[in-house]
Each structure stands twice: as structure tokens, then as C-alpha cells.
């Protein structure tokens, strides 16, 4: 991972030129029709089993569809949304979802930035931290959740054990208590999502030209000033990209919290995805659940729009 980005970007930059030179659409006596022919086996299943269901899903949000055979489905316009507007449980779950998504994304970003900065230094044991940082990436989310359930187990978990050893109250039911469940789940979310963010930021750091640092150092800039005025601006596009993706992934995540708490205690960790899942597959209200999905898309899209616009603006100035 510590390899640099330069060869890749060089190749990327030169690739279009090569293609353009052998113009006419194809390198070796091919045609556009060939391209479609080659893509068709991939295109058909994607359209049938993901584009079509997605469109269907959006439309379902405007119907009264329910689970069960022989149900008559009819469009009910914005009925679902007026019902949702007064559904306090849903908005509560929405609020929890936003706390979760923003909490995990922000904490994850700072934790990963710190780790990436350390990994970019010539420290001993760096390989160990780097390897450990990658492991959660390969683990099934269900297993990450199981592991942390063992960690947070009120009686036998090492976290309470450690607290008892330090003379602190070691009987906290982390995942079962109203006040600690959401923070505990957020910590697990940070742990699970650190790999991509760390590795991406590290890649970005290694791409910052060292000449810039040297020049700034010669001009008498302190370490902090160099970080603020050289590293951070150079990292900016990567930071925006990875935090955007993290926010989307976290808002839409399911497996981790489903296994950790299943939304409990008392709905304290009921992320919108879990709420909508229950609505659809427990209570069978397909149309209503799809409407929740639509609201989730709109809200997340609005946040992304605001965030990306503010980033684009401050980049211009």
C-alpha cells in the first residue's frame, strides 16, 4: 500500500492519448456493434434485476402495496408521505440514523487521518498497524458485530473487566442501556469502517509532493503550518470523496447494527434501514416501507448536495 500513485496516474493520463491515436473506435478492426455485443450479457441482467427493481421500488413508494398473495395494488399518491410526516417513530429513527451516519463518518475521518499521518512516517511497528487497519475490510460485518458483542458483554466482556480492574463501575450493559447503546454502536461502526478511509487518505498523503513540504520548511513554516497549508489543501479532493462515500455507506448500513442490537434497546439504535426493513418484512407494508426508502434517498441526496456545493465553493475562493 505504501507504493506511490505516480505510475498509475501517469498510465491513466497517457491511456486516452493512445486510444485516440488508434481512432475509429477500436484498436483491432472492431466496431461499435461489437462493443454492444460484448456488453450485452452484462447489461441484460443488470437492467432486469437491478435497474428495473429500483424504478419499481421508487414507484412502490406511491402505492399501498402489502405483502401476501392476491393483493390489489393501487396508487395512493402522497398518502404514504402524509402518514410518514406524522409518524414519530420514523422520524425518531431518522434522527438516530443521522446521528449514527454523521457520528461514524466524522469520527472515522479524524481517526483515519491520524492513523494515515502516522503510517506515512517512518515509524517502527508501522507494518503491524497497517495490517490491523486492513483486517476489518475483509471481515463479514456479521462477524464484526459478533466480535464486538463479546467485547461489550456486560458480565464477561473485557471492556467491563478492564474497567473493574481500574476500579471503575464495571457492570455497564453497553448495548442494552438507553444512554450507552448508540455511542457503543458508533464506536463499532468506526472500527469497521476505518480501513478504506485510512488507506485512501494514506494514498493521498503519499501523493503530496515532498518539494512543497521542503519549500514550506525552508520558508520557516512549523509542522502544524505545513500540515494546515500544504498537506490539507492537497488532500482536499480525496477528503471530500471519501467522506461523501462514507456518509452514504453509513446511512445505508444494516448488517452491523442489526446483529449488534437489532435496533434496541427501545429503538435507541433503530437506524432507518432497520426501521424500513421491519416495516416491509415484519409487518408486510411494502408500499409504506418503499416510501421510507424514497425519503431516505431525498434526505441523503440533499445533504450530499449541500456538502459538495460548499466544498466546490470554498475551492473556488
Amino acid at each position: 500500500m505504501t507504493s506511490t500513485v505516480s505510475p498509475a496516474t501517469v498510465a491513466e493520463a497517457s491511456a486516452p492519448q493512445k486510444r485516440r491515436r488508434s481512432s475509429g473506435g477500436s484498436p483491432v478492426n472492431g466496431s461499435r456493434r461489437d462493443a454492444w455485443l460484448l456488453v450485452l450479457p452484462a447489461l441484460i441482467p443488470v437492467v432486469l434485476f437491478s435497474v428495473y427493481p429500483l424504478v419499481q421500488g421508487i414507484l412502490l413508494g406511491f402505492t399501498d402495496a402489502k405483502a401476501g398473495l392476491g393483493q390489489v395494488v393501487s396508487f395512493n399518491g402522497v398518502d404514504n408521505y402524509t402518514r410518514l410526516a406524522t409518524n414519530e417513530l420514523f422520524w425518531n429513527s431518522f434522527r438516530i440514523g443521522l446521528i449514527w451516519a454523521f457520528g461514524v463518518t466524522i469520527l472515522q475521518f479524524f481517526a483515519s487521518l491520524g492513523l494515515a499521518l502516522l503510517l506515512n512516517l517512518n515509524l517502527k511497528m508501522r507494518w503491524l498497524a497497517r495490517t490491523l487497519a486492513l483486517v476489518p475490510w475483509a471481515m463479514p460485518p456479521v462477524i464484526i458485530a459478533i466480535m464486538w458483542r463479546l467485547m461489550l458483554n456486560p458480565t464477561y466482556g473485557p471492556i467491563n473487566g478492564g474497567m473493574r480492574a481500574l476500579g471503575l463501575p464495571g457492570d455497564i450493559n453497553w448495548l442494552g442501556d438507553f444512554s450507552t447503546a448508540l455511542p457503543a454502536v458508533i464506536v463499532v461502526g468506526v472500527w469497521a469502517g476505518m480501513p478504506q478511509t485510512t488507506i485512501t487518505l494514506l494514498a493521498g498523503l503519499q501523493n503530496v509532493p515532498s518539494e512543497l513540504h521542503e519549500a514550506a520548511a525552508i520558508d520557516g513554516a512549523s509542522t502544524w503550518q505545513r500540515f494546515w497549508h500544504v498537506t490539507l489543501p492537497a488532500l482536499r479532493p480525496i477528503i471530500v470523496a471519501i467522506t461523501t462515500l462514507d456518509l452514504i455507506w453509513n446511512f445505508n448500513s444494516f448488517a452491523l447494527v442489526y446483529v449488534l442490537t437489532a435496533g434496541g434497546p427501545g429503538g435507541q439504535t433503530m437506524l432507518p434501514m432497520l426501521f424500513a426493513y421491519n416495516e416491509a418484512f415484519r409487518y408486510g407494508n411494502f408500499g409504506y416501507a418503499a416510501a421510507m426508502g424514497n425519503v431516505m434517498v431525498i434526505v441523503i441526496a440533499a445533504f450530499l448536495f449541500l456538502y459538495l456545493r460548499s466544498q466546490a465553493r470554498s475551492r473556488q475562493s
Binding site: P7, S26, A35, M125, A138, P140, N153, I248, A289
Partner: protein, 311 residues
């Protein structure tokens, strides 16, 4: 796949030279520091690094040690961190549970079938995307990005209804179909990056030497693409092996459950006595993804890195 935690940005480049000690050094010395400053900050940096190692590593270590502990050890009021002896009872008992073996078999069938289908379908398509500059490229990119934003709840309900109509609910075939379709855009994108890394000139030279189209593809492009192809297929395998949400909705028959489903159910029934077995089973279930990930991580991360720079 529905699992966001394993989604790197698409790979764009096949080979990245291995890191050299020289580069490490130059990176560090690229940030000059006075000796005094260094003497103050270095220990702090090590403290921070140690903190990260504990935060990241301790849960894994704990899972590992729990798997080797006997029920008596787990219930003892003064637990030791390390197990007193290396006993494999938990592993043996976990494997002896018929439903876990069956679930592993189901997971294997689904993951292998998904990998084969995705590889076969995405190979020609990736070649076309990389070599022909058509609108398809931007459509494919657009779809990959868009599919990230939409919550799976919107897709799963209609998919559930469609699969129910054609009798593929509670059927591994249905799961394979869904996994294939949902890994496809990503695998396609990864693979076309690797194709783009192969110089067109090689193909042109092959064609000039009188090789037929198929021959050029099989004897020139395919060997060069092999490492990228392996990385893409292993990544597809990992995604399918780890996936939970689709399986939860589409599979209800206990005999057809995949490993994540069975383990998630196991959690609900966890008694203190079973903690060790649960840990052992979790470790066993992680091994395939971990091994495959270790094989491809350099490629994934280098791909991620070149993808990230574009962003």
C-alpha cells in the same frame, strides 16, 4: 453488494511497483524537522501508534483467545486474558454442529457460482468498456455511483416480489442471481481498469503479425489480464461470502441459510457456555475472506489509490 464495508474505489491500473526502502526514507525526510522537535514528537507519535494498534488489534486478539477458552474459563469470576491451554474443543464442537457445516456449504456454493458468473459476463464487457470509447462507459460509471446512494430497501422489495413470482425465493439460485447482478457493475469497473492498463500497441502488433482477433485476445490480452482477473474474482467471492442483507430477506429455509445468517441466528441463542463456540465459528467463517483479501489487498489498495486521486 449491500455490504458497504468492502467496497474500494475501482482499480484503474494493473501494476504498481513494490515499495522500496528508499522511498520510505525519502517520504519521511521530505518533512524536515529539527532534532529537538523530533525528540519531543517521536515518543508522542509512538504512543499514538500504540493506541491505534490496541484499538484495532485488541478485539481481534480477544476473539482469538475466546475461541480457545473452555466454558469454565469463560465463566470464571477472574478471567485470564490468555487461555490456560490451547484446546480446540470449541472449533471441534462448532464444526460438529451440522447446520454450520451446511451453512458453510451453502455460502461456498453461492460465492463460487457468483464469482464464476460475474467473471464470465464481465470479462467481455470490461474489454469493450476499456477499448471502445462509447457512451456505455459513462453510463456504467453513472450506474455504479447511483447504485451506492439508493438504500437497498428500495431494491429488495420489488426484487423479492419478482423472485417470488419465478419461484426463486428460498432458493440458492435466486441468491446467486442477485449477488451476480449486484457485484457485476463493480467487478466490471475494476476489470476495465486492468484492461486499460494493457497497452493497445501489443494488440495491434499481434494483429499485424497475422493473429486473428480471438487469438490476439487469448494469447496476448488474457495472460496480461490474469492478475487483474484474479483480483476481481477474489473480490467478488469475498463480497458474496460476507453478504447478509439480501440473504436475510431472500432465504428463510434453515437448510439454505448462508454462514452469516446462521451465525447471526446463533448470536440470539448465545448462552455463556456457547461464547467460545461462537468465537470459534466466527473465526472459521472469516478465514476464507481474510486469506483471499491478503492475496489481493495490494492490488485493491493500489487500485483504490489511483481511483481516489481522480476524485
Amino acid at each position: 453488494m449491500s455490504n458497504a464495508t468492502v467496497t474500494p474505489t475501482p482499480a484503474r491500473q494493473e501494476t504498481v511497483p513494490p515499495e522500496t526502502p528508499r522511498r520510505r526514507k525519502s517520504q519521511d525526510s521530505g518533512i524536515p524537522q529539527s532534532p529537538i522537535q523530533r525528540r519531543v514528537t517521536r515518543p508522542l507519535q509512538y504512543v499514538a501508534l500504540a493506541g491505534y494498534i490496541v484499538f484495532l488489534g485488541f478485539p481481534l486478539l480477544f476473539l482469538l483467545t475466546t475461541a480457545f477458552k473452555t466454558p469454565a474459563e469463560l465463566q470464571s469470576p477472574n478471567p485470564t486474558f490468555l487461555p490456560t491451554s490451547l484446546n480446540f474443543d470449541n472449533f471441534i464442537q462448532a464444526i460438529a454442529k451440522a447446520n454450520l457445516v451446511q451453512a458453510a456449504g451453502n455460502s461456498l456454493i453461492v460465492a463460487v457460482a457468483t464469482t464464476v458468473i460475474v467473471t464470465l459476463i464481465s470479462l467481455p464487457a470490461a474489454y469493450a468498456l476499456a477499448r471502445f470509447r462509447t457512451k456505455l462507459r459513462s453510463i456504467a460509471t453513472g450506474w455504479i455511483l447511483l447504485s451506492q446512494v439508493f438504500p437497498f430497501i428500495l431494491i429488495i422489495i420489488p426484487l423479492f416480489l419478482v423472485l417470488k413470482q419465478i419461484g426463486l425465493i428460498n432458493n440458492l439460485l435466486g441468491l446467486i442471481l442477485v449477488y451476480s447482478v449486484w457485484s457485476l457493475p463493480f467487478a466490471l469497473w475494476m476489470l476495465q481498469g486492468y484492461v486499460a492498463g494493457i497497452p493497445v500497441e501489443l494488440e495491434e502488433a499481434g494483429a499485424m503479425d497475422g493473429g486473428s482477433r480471438i487469438r490476439v485476445l487469448v494469447s496476448i490480452v488474457l495472460p496480461l489480464l490474469a492478475p487483474g482477473l484474479v483480483a476481481t474474482s477474489l473480490f467478488t467471492f469475498i463480497s458474496a461470502w460476507n453478504e447478509f442483507f439480501f440473504a436475510l430477506v431472500l432465504i428463510q429455509d434453515p437448510a439454505l441459510q448462508t454462514l452469516p445468517l446462521t451465525l447471526a441466528r446463533f448470536v440470539g441463542a448465545e448462552g455463556q457456555v456457547q461464547l467460545g463456540q461462537l468465537a470459534a465459528a466466527s473465526l472459521l467463517a472469516t478465514i476464507p475472506s481474510l486469506v483471499f483479501f491478503a492475496l489481493i489487498q495490494r492490488r485493491l489498495t493500489s487500485g483504490l489509490l489511483s481511483g481516489a486521486v481522480k476524485g
